[in-house]
């Protein structure tokens, strides 16, 4: 399967997963995981910058359409896409990858992927929840939402990634 088809399918599946299943998870009113960001996390290393931004924005906007929150997820996911190259450079050290591969655990290792995904998810959720509150009022409440939701998003994303990664022979 080529990269385009693979990513298109991921886009649709993650959108449906978010809208129909994850959005219905309500634990204590604080935990709202946003697993759709996995789409942007898994785009190939070699993707051109402009396409990365447009796809990030597009994914967020698609979620916004279903949640009646225009601009909210689009903005946060756009920032995630914008920061992705910098975070990849940061966690990869000297030899930044520039291949058609997707960031994953098979070649990069668990530790690499967890650092990479956690940094970007935390960034995304921080922006998202502050944009949602649209103020710094009830600061501790927002912080609590960010930290709990980040942990749950990371957990679900890791489960998905472990599930879709083929074991090495």
């Amino acid at each position: 399967m080529n990269s385009y088809a693979k990513n298109a399918i991921r886009f649709v599946l993650l959108l449906l997963l978010q809208v129909f299943i994850v959005n219905n998870i309500r634990i204590g009113g604080y935990i709202n995981p946003y697993v759709y960001v996995l789409f942007v996390l898994l785009l190939p290393f070699s993707i051109p910058g402009w396409l990365l931004l447009i796809l990030g924005f597009g994914m967020g906007l698609a979620v916004d359409l279903f949640m009646a929150t225009p601009g909210l997820h689009a903005g946060a996911t756009l920032l995630l896409a914008f920061m992705r190259p910098a975070v990849i450079r940061l966690v990869s050290g000297a030899q930044s990858p520039d291949t058609d591969e997707s960031p994953g655990i098979s070649d990069k290792g668990k530790r690499w992927f967890i650092t990479y995904s956690f940094t970007l998810i935390l960034l995304h959720h921080t922006v998202l929840f502050f944009l949602e509150a649209f103020s710094f009022a009830r600061f501790t409440d927002t912080i609590l939402r960010i930290s709990l939701s980040t942990l749950f998003t990371e957990l679900i994303i890791l489960l998905i990634v472990f599930f879709i990664t083929k074991p090495k022979k």
């Binding site: 809208v19 129909f20 959005n23 309500r26 009113g29 604080y30 935990i31 709202n32 910058g49 402009w50 931004l53 447009i54 924005f57 967020g60 916004d64 359409l65 279903f66 949640m67 009646a68 929150t69 225009p70 601009g71 909210l72 689009a74 903005g75 756009l78 920032l79 914008f82 944009l131 949602e132 509150a133 649209f134 009830r138 409440d141």
Partner: protein
């Protein structure tokens, strides 16, 4: 030359980011002035249709609960009907008053309770006579206000929205106050602007005041949980338990005030004279 080219590519990345970022902020601020109904565009028939499909799957798992809810409401309505049937003529004026409202049943296709600003999407739209600024009530109480309409679907601002503000009154003494939601617990709301000479007790019921013309008077809102006295302020607050369980919202009624346009025209007239 190669470096220059690279430089522009890099700047393009930043420029495109700023452009799309500005677009997001613009969309976001537009949606915050909620009664201007920027959200209309997002209540498209396409997403509405997909959400309705998803909701239809979930329906089967809640059939028993839903039928119980409707049966309870039926019982309450029977009681009311009995009351009106045995009404004497002198009280008929009240009945005529309440006829100004029309109820359009609808099904919730999407609803959230865990966000700061929650929206309810229903499966009735302009085709069914739904318009902006109509109220949304559940079988057990208030639910939201319609802010965007497409042909077959409508988006409503949930009472669980930080911009939602509703005029309500204590049913025991008709004293007015305002209902707001602070964005934490979907079961609890806050009543503001309670005059100090009132001391509401836990369990007191609150109903809509009818002053907003969106909801008829006397729709159940909730019961008082706790009363907070604030030193040095003229108005106090209380926390209340909503009578509507927003987490289970499935069937709702859109309330159409047939006289709303007339009342609004009258209010405008008074302002200009």
């Amino acid at each position: 030359m190669r470096n220059l080219f690279r430089f522009f590519l890099k700047q393009n990345f930043v420029l495109l980011f700023m452009l799309l970022g500005a677009l997001s902020i613009w969309l976001l601020t537009k949606s915050h002035t909620y009664h201007r109904a920027a959200i209309v565009n997002t209540t498209s028939n396409f997403t509405g249709g997909i959400l309705a499909f998803g909701a239809s799957i979930g329906d089967y798992f809640r059939l028993k609960e839903t039928s119980n809810q409707l049966a309870e409401q039926n019982a309450r309505l029977q009681e009311k009907l009995y009351f009106y049937e045995h009404l004497n003529d002198s009280l008929l004026i009240e009945l005529v008053d309440s006829v100004g409202f029309e109820y359009i049943p609808a099904r919730v296709v999407s609803n959230t309770v865990h966000l700061r600003n929650n929206y309810i999407i229903i499966n009735k739209g302009s085709k069914h006579g739904i318009e902006k600024e109509m109220g949304l009530v559940s079988p057990s109480g208030i639910a939201g206000i319609v802010i965007g309409v497409s042909e077959n679907y409508a988006t409503a601002l949930s009472i669980l929205h930080t911009h939602a503000r509703l005029s309500i009154k204590f049913s025991k003494n008709n004293q007015l106050a305002n209902l707001v939601w602070h964005g934490k617990d979907f079961k609890k709301g806050i009543v503001e602007d309670i005059p100090t000479h009132l001391s509401p007790a836990p369990g007191d019921t609150l109903v809509t005041s009818g002053h907003s013309f969106i909801f008829p008077e006397g729709i159940m809102v909730g019961t008082v949980l706790e009363y907070f006295e604030q030193e040095g302020r003229g108005l106090n607050e209380a926390s209340i338990q909503f009578s509507t369980d927003f987490n289970k919202l499935k069937y709702v009624y859109v309330v159409n005030n047939r006289n709303q346009n007339e009342i609004e025209a009258l209010l405008k007239l008074n302002v200009y004279e």
